[in-house]
């Protein structure tokens, strides 16, 4: 790996990892991370080497209040989401997704969604992957359609879900195709309240760990889910 990169470039990666670069040199090095895989690997290698200086430090327990403050910051009491905020991702979605969305707005009415159909979109923050999901509680299944991106070559997609405060579990594999229809596992079908869906990329056959082993493209929370009547 080392010999792919000139000595000077490897040391620039080290200086970036140490935080020693400033001004133009810093912007240039940051840009190279996204552009040059060999440079990015050199940065990761330096981060790993240097991190051992910190791994050597003796653990020190933070005060209990620190965790409470963190949790309160990340998970404040849920506030109602205005309609326009829930609707806007649809405006960016593909034509097909808009068609699905408008159909659903007619059939299910405006927010909050009332069963048995719930729609949501999972979009990667990097902007390279989007999936539209339709949860059908009358049949306890989820139908997903890709509107942007796909699993990398030689990999497949895997769908995950969990209820509030519950462990995430696999809903099923999505080996190929634009769309997939998956029955909801019993625990997921029983979720009341916020249902979280996620999609990751995995080796063929799916993750062997029971949790995602590859990149998680994104997740979406569907509030107000109730069992089918």
């Amino acid at each position: 790996m080392m010999d792919e990169l000139a000595e000077d470039d490897d040391l620039t990666a080290a200086e970036l990892a140490l935080g020693l670069l400033e001004g133009d040199a810093l912007s240039e090095a940051r840009a190279r991370v996204g552009r040059e895989p060999a440079f990015a690997r050199a940065l990761v290698a330096w981060e790993a080497r240097l991190s051992h200086m910190a791994q050597d430090l003796a653990a020190e327990d933070p005060p209990a209040a620190a965790k409470a403050a963190l949790m309160a910051r990340l998970f404040p009491e849920p506030a109602p989401v205005p309609l326009w905020r829930r609707a806007w991702p649809w405006q960016l979605a593909s034509v097909a997704a808009i068609a699905v969305a408008s159909l659903l707005f007619f059939t299910t009415g405006p927010t909050p969604q009332e069963g048995p159909l719930y729609t949501a979109e999972i979009a990667a923050e990097a902007g390279d992957f989007r999936v539209v999901a339709l949860v059908d509680k009358s049949r306890d299944e989820v139908i997903l359609t890709r509107t942007l991106g796909a699993a990398p070559e030689g990999r497949i997609l895997q769908v995950w879900a969990h209820g509030p405060g519950e462990p995430a579990q696999s809903v099923g594999l999505w080996p190929a195709g634009e769309s997939v229809r998956l029955p909801l596992p019993t625990e997921i079908a029983a979720v009341e309240g916020v249902l979280t869906l996620g999609v990751s990329e995995e080796p063929p056959g799916g993750s062997t760990t029971g949790s995602p082993s590859g990149r998680v493209f994104g997740t979406v929370e569907i509030p107000g889910v109730t069992a089918a009547r």
Binding site: M2, D10, L11, A14, E15, L18, G19, L20, E22, R41, V44, E47, A48, R49, L50, S51, H52, M53, A54, Q55, D56, L57, A58, A59, E60, D61, P62, P63, A66, K67, A69, L70, M71, R73, L74, F75, A124, E125, W160, H162, P164, G165, E166, P167, A168, T196, G198, S200, T209, G210, S211, P212, S213, G214, R215, V216, F217, G218, T219, E221
Partner: protein, 184 residues
Amino acid sequence: MADPAADRARVEEMIARVALQDRAAFSDLYDATCGKLFAVCLRVSGRRQDAEDAMQDAYVKVWRNAGRYAVTGHSPMTWLITIARNTAIDRLRARRDHDDLGDVDGTLAAPGATPEQAAVATSEAERIRDCMNALPEDRRAAISGAYLEGQTYADLATRFDVPLNTMRTWLRRGLIALRECLAR
């Protein structure tokens, strides 16, 4: 900590679940790693309140970026520590800019690991300690000053009373020696 490979797999699985926005997994991940991350933030910040703030910011980044962990190529603890260290350094530098000169030297006396305290260090950590110890004292202090104290080339040049370019040459030579020692 009996089995580093099992620990690694456990933390990796927690990060994977955090990527699915699994809050229980996030709570478990915090409990399993906060001692280490707080130690890192404390070492960098030198003040408990700043360390707490930096650690909180670091875990917010972990919550938001866990989906990208798998593509970084890092081991789970390296990924977490790098986030914590970089977050703490950013805060420290912002504080220094804000405090102007302040009492930077006076606030850096944070507890570091002594060889006795670090009894559970991994073999890799032991190797980097050996390799760091093999460096000339000033180069070792320069690398550690940059990594753990966020010192810039200008800070280091002042500290060692050498011209900036000399400092840069020293430090780069130290890094080459460190890399070669670790590759052995």
